[in-house]
Each structure stands twice: as structure tokens, then as C-alpha cells.
């Protein structure tokens, strides 16, 4: 068993990294800061017996989001990139087995996420000490969060073993994790009496989200066995995914022969050659960035979920705010994806040396980054516009059917602001992602750097304020407009500042960045 030496070595490397220390400190400080804001907003509204409840639910929800996204962000590259670089086969030449590799990578790469979660748990403990949360609820929520993190990491490592590239692994794992922890749970909770909920498969897939949903006392007391079942099933599912990754690994490192004899592949080659001859840079960018199908699938899935929530609201099953939060979350996923793809765009070329070769040609760096930007635009622009058009259509319908007052003007107005910011965020993320991908050490760091100031900081601040206000009953139509307007102004200014900076840097310092990096 060589897993322990591998784990020991990876942990020693991790412990010497400066960013790991700052990550732990930074996450703890950020959660403490957010908690102070939430507490300051809610202390005079909450009862003395329930002083800690808004803080507890806010921190728990944030930790849940971190746990869900930790897997795709941290682990999607771990096996897929070894396959691309061809080093996985070399690992198997040594005295290592698949469980050593999977176990070593899993433990070492999961450490940053575990430490982030450990930084959040003491804040949840403070909320428990303030009152309004029972000890059992605190323990249940902690168990559900740790279990969600385990499932997310195990699911991602399984997807990484299946996929042929890091980008594909990220896509697969995002679909799996968000589907199980968000989408499937939301569907089961929205339509509890639908025929498909009686099957074991949807309930099993939704178990990580159901465990988190059943943790609070109010839900747990109604059906105590549901929480234990969900925790047990999702934990077993996590181990099954890890076992699947171990079984798959010995068969996935060999190069497969390419089938090029069929008529379709010949036509595809001919088309690619024709395009290569007319515009080689655009061809290369499109080849690296991939087709538009996945963006359309995500946009279509978002339309289905938001539409389903909207219909459920019309029938009085759920509150209207659930549609807003669902739309916000799905738009967030789309933006994270844009940031991920754009921040990886130059990284792959830089690591393979293709970017350096391109820069010695007479094409010029402007032509290069413009080709990548066009590739990103071709991939994401039309699906993003279609999603925005659907949002506006829905808002128009909601405003037309509203009973007057707040509903008539505000719904459409707020949706329009959100749509504008969504498009601006996507545009800014493409520029900042390209620049970060050029200067950052690896793709994950580039993605985190891209997302930090554009999405994570303003999103966490306003989401927390909204959740806290909603828990304490302060989220009235009037305060919602103030929230939305201040969020719009802050996001707009951040997009403007970061986007303009990235444009000027990319256009002027592109070559220096590549040279200094390599």
C-alpha cells in the first residue's frame, strides 16, 4: 500500500505553500466579516432566544455552496491532466496501484476545501452559542456539510477519471454535483407527489441535497428518518464513486487509436482543413475552446429549471423568491463556466509552448488574443442572449399577471437590471479570464483570481444580506429594490474597472506576460 507515502509527500508539499496558509486565514476572516455584517443587520430584529439563527443559516448556506463547488474547482484536473500530459502511464510503471493514486490525490487535493470548511464551523458554533439553534441541529448541519464535501470531491475524481481533458472533467463534474446537490433536490422538493419520486434512483441521486435540507429542526422533526437515510445513501454513493474512479483508472491511460476511415470523419477533416487555411488562429481557438453544444445544454437546462419553478409559483407551491434565487444560482453557474473556460484558454497553449511559437510569427499578439476572444464569443454569446431573453419573457409575463402595486413595475425592472449585469459579467469575465490565464501559475488559480472580485466578493456580500433580511422578515418589496439597485451599481462598477484594466493589459502587456511566465 503506497497511498500513505504519496499522501505524506503531498501534504508536506501543501504545508510549505504560502497560499495554503493565506487561504485558511482568508476564508476564516471572510466568514467572520460576513457574520459580523449579518449579525449587525439582524440583531435588533431577531428575538433574544433566536439571536444566532440568521447567522447560523447564512453561514451554513455559504458553506454548502463552497462544499458543492469545491470538487469541480479543485479536483477536476487531477487525473485528466495527467492523462493529457501522458504521465499517468509513467505512474503505473512504478510500484503504485490505482487506489494509491486516487487515494493520494483525493486526500492531498481535498485538504484546502476541508480547511475552508473547518474555518466556517467555529463561526457556526458561535451562532449555536448565541441561541436559536440546538446542539443536534448544529451537529446534523456539520455532518451534512462534511458529507456534501465528500460527495462533491468523490464525484469529481470519478468524472476526472472518465474524461479525456480537464475541461471535459470540469463540465461532467459540475453537471453531476449541481444535479445531485441542487437540481434533483429542488425537483423532489417542488413536486413531492409526482410519479417519478417513488423510484429509488432520483431519491438516491438527490440524497446529498436532501441531507442538508433535512438538517434544520423544523424539517427534521417532521420526518427524522429522512435525514439519516439521506446521509447514509449519499455517503455510500461517495464511496461508490471513489471505487469507480479506482476501477476505471487502470483502463483509461492508454492512447486510443483514432478512427479516420468513415465518410463523416473525412468530411469533418476536410471542413477543418478548409477553415484552417482561411483563418488558422480562429480555427485553433475554436478547437481549444470547444463547440457551442455544451453552452446550449446549460442554457436549456437553466430555462427548464427556471420555467418549472415559475410554473410551481403560479400554482402556489413555492414562494416567488425561490424563482429569483434559482435564476441567480443558475446564472452564477453559467458565469463560473465562462470564467473557467476563458481562464484556461491561454493556459493550455502556454503550457504546451504553442503560444510562444505563435508569438514569433508575424501575426502579432493582437490577432492572437482577438481570435481567442472571438472563439469565446462564438461559444457563449448566443446561449447567454437566449437565456436573458427567456428571463425577460418570464418577467414580462409575471409583471402582466401581477395583482398590481409592486408586481407591475418592479419585477420587469429588476429582471432587466439582472440581465444587464449578467451580460456585463460574462463580457468582463472573458477579458479578465484571458488575462488571468496568461499570468497565473495554473488554471485553477487563474479561475479563482478571475472569479474573486467579479463574482465571489459582491455575490457573497449581497446574497448574505438578502438571506439575513429574508430570515428576519426584512425583505420587503421596498428593501428588495434597494438591495437590487446597490448590487447593480457595485457589480457594474466592478465590471467596468476590472474589464477596462484587463483590456488595456491584454492589449499592451500580452507578450511580456508570456515571456515572464515562461
Amino acid at each position: 500500500m503506497n497511498a500513505l507515502p504519496i499522501v505524506r509527500r503531498e501534504l508536506l508539499v501543501l504545508s510549505r505553500r504560502r497560499w495554503f496558509y493565506w487561504l485558511r486565514s482568508g476564508v476564516g476572516c471572510a466568514i467572520a466579516l460576513v457574520s459580523c455584517i449579518v449579525f449587525a443587520v439582524t440583531w435588533n430584529v431577531a428575538t433574544k432566544q433566536g439571536l444566532g439563527a440568521p447567522l447560523f443559516y447564512t453561514v451554513t448556506f455559504m458553506s454548502y455552496l463552497v462544499s458543492v463547488l469545491a470538487g469541480p474547482v479543485l479536483l477536476s484536473d487531477c487525473i485528466a491532466e495527467e492523462k493529457v500530459a501522458g504521465t499517468l502511464g509513467l505512474l503505473f510503471l512504478t510500484n503504485t496501484r490505482s487506489h494509491d493514486i486516487v487515494g493520494g490525490k483525493f486526500i492531498a487535493l481535498a485538504m484546502p476545501a476541508i480547511h475552508c470548511l473547518l474555518a466556517a464551523i467555529p463561526i457556526m458554533g458561535i451562532a449555536f452559542a448565541l441561541g436559536g439553534v440546538t446542539g443536534e441541529e448544529f451537529l446534523r448541519s456539520t455532518a451534512a456539510l462534511l458529507n456534501t464535501l465528500f460527495f462533491s470531491l468523490a464525484g469529481t475524481i470519478f468524472c476526472s477519471a472518465l474524461a479525456s481533458s480537464g475541461r471535459q472533467a470540469f463540465g461532467f463534474s459540475l453537471v453531476l454535483v449541481l444535479g445531485c446537490c441542487g437540481g434533483m433536490t429542488a425537483i423532489l422538493l417542488t413536486w413531492p407527489k409526482a410519479a417519478f419520486t417513488s423510484f429509488w434512483l432520483p431519491r438516491m441521486l438527490a440524497s446529498p441535497g436532501l441531507a442538508f435540507w433535512n438538517a434544520p429542526d423544523a424539517v427534521y422533526s417532521a420526518n427524522p428518518s429522512a435525514f439519516a437515510n439521506a446521509i447514509g445513501i449519499s455517503h455510500g454513493l461517495g464511496w461508490a464513486l471513489l471505487a469507480g474512479a479506482m476501477l476505471r483508472l487502470p483502463f483509461c491511460w492508454r492512447d486510443q487509436p483514432r478512427e479516420a476511415n468513415s465518410e463523416a470523419s473525412y468530411e469533418k477533416c476536410a471542413r477543418a482543413t478548409k477553415q484552417r487555411m482561411t483563418d488558422p488562429l480562429t480555427w485553433l481557438a475554436r478547437r481549444r475552446l470547444g463547440g457551442t453544444m455544451a453552452a446550449w445544454i446549460l442554457a436549456g437546462a437553466s430555462v427548464l429549471v427556471i420555467g418549472g419553478f415559475y410554473l410551481a409559483t403560479g400554482q402556489g407551491r413555492i414562494d416567488g423568491m425561490a424563482v429569483v434565487f434559482a435564476a441567480y444560482a443558475l446564472h452564477g453557474v453559467f458565469k463560473v463556466w465562462v470564467a473557467w473556460v476563458s481562464s484556461r484558454a491561454f493556459g493550455t497553449e502556454r503550457d504546451s509552448g504553442a503560444l510562444e511559437l505563435l508569438l514569433v510569427t508575424p501575426l502579432g499578439e493582437t490577432a492572437i488574443w482577438r481570435a481567442w476572444l472571438n472563439g469565446l464569443r462564438q461559444r457563449f454569446l448566443i446561449p447567454a442572449l437566449a437565456l436573458v431573453a427567456f428571463d425577460l419573457l418570464l418577467a414580462w409575463n409575471a409583471a402582466a399577471n401581477a395583482a398590481g402595486g409592486f408586481g407591475e413595475v418592479s419585477i420587469f425592472f429588476l429582471t432587466m437590471l439582472a440581465a444587464l449585469i449578467f451580460l456585463m459579467d460574462c463580457y468582463t469575465l472573458t477579458w479578465t479570464g484571458l488575462w488571468s490565464g496568461l499570468v497565473a501559475r495554473n488554471a485553477t488559480r487563474a479561475c479563482v483570481r478571475t472569479l474573486m472580485f467579479t463574482l465571489i466578493i459582491p455575490g457573497a456580500f449581497f446574497l448574505n444580506a438578502a438571506i439575513a433580511a429574508s430570515v428576519t422578515g426584512m425583505l420587503t418589496p421596498g428593501s428588495l429594490i434597494v438591495f437590487a439597485l446597490s448590487w447593480f451599481i457595485v457589480s457594474f462598477l466592478l465590471d467596468l474597472i476590472l474589464g477596462a484594466l484587463a483590456m488595456v493589459r491584454l492589449s499592451h502587456d500580452c507578450r511580456e506576460a508570456v515571456v515572464n511566465r515562461s
Binding site: L363, E365, A367, A500, V504
Partner: protein, 93 residues
């Protein structure tokens, strides 16, 4: 042929300065929207044509774009307040 050769250096600096001036003018409510669009057009043209050459007006160019963005917010807020006031006056006769 590189796209960076499209814009002469004098034109690049002139446009950077013009972007800065237009950025300030875009703070005029409502009318400033046109100025902001012109500032963004100058910003984009310089970014596309700048290449690796040193631009003496680089800071002004950035400031111009940021000022134009703030100008757009001012115009949007003013427009929203005016629209809501009109709707309110229509609703209450």
C-alpha cells in the same frame, strides 16, 4: 500584417485624451449617455490598435472609461427616477 500598425501613435494619444474628456462629459445626466458611448468607442479603438507600443495617455484612457461608466450609472439612475415619477403621476392622475 499586424493590426497594431493600423493606428498611428499620435492618433492613439489623441484618442486617449479624448476618451478622458468625454468621460467627464458623460457625467451630464441623460445627454451624457452619448458622450459615454463615444468614450467607450475611443477606448475600444485604442485598445484594438495599441499593441505593444507605449501609450503616454494610458492612465487617461483607463480613467476615461471608468468615468464614462460612472456617467452611465448617473444617467440610468436619473432616467429611472424620472420614469418612476412619470408613472406615479399617471397612476395618481
Amino acid at each position: 500584417m499586424s493590426a497594431t500598425a493600423d493606428m498611428p501613435k499620435s492618433e492613439m494619444i489623441r484618442r486617449s485624451m479624448r476618451c478622458y474628456v468625454l468621460g467627464w462629459w458623460s457625467w451630464v445626466p441623460l445627454l451624457g449617455f452619448v458622450m459615454a458611448m463615444l468614450a467607450f468607442a475611443d477606448f475600444r479603438a485604442v485598445v484594438n490598435g495599441m499593441g505593444r507600443r507605449w501609450n503616454a495617455g494610458r492612465t487617461r484612457l483607463l480613467l476615461g472609461a471608468w468615468l464614462a461608466g460612472i456617467g452611465i450609472i448617473i444617467t440610468l439612475l436619473t432616467g429611472t427616477i424620472i420614469t418612476l415619477a412619470i408613472l406615479d403621476s399617471i397612476a395618481h392622475g
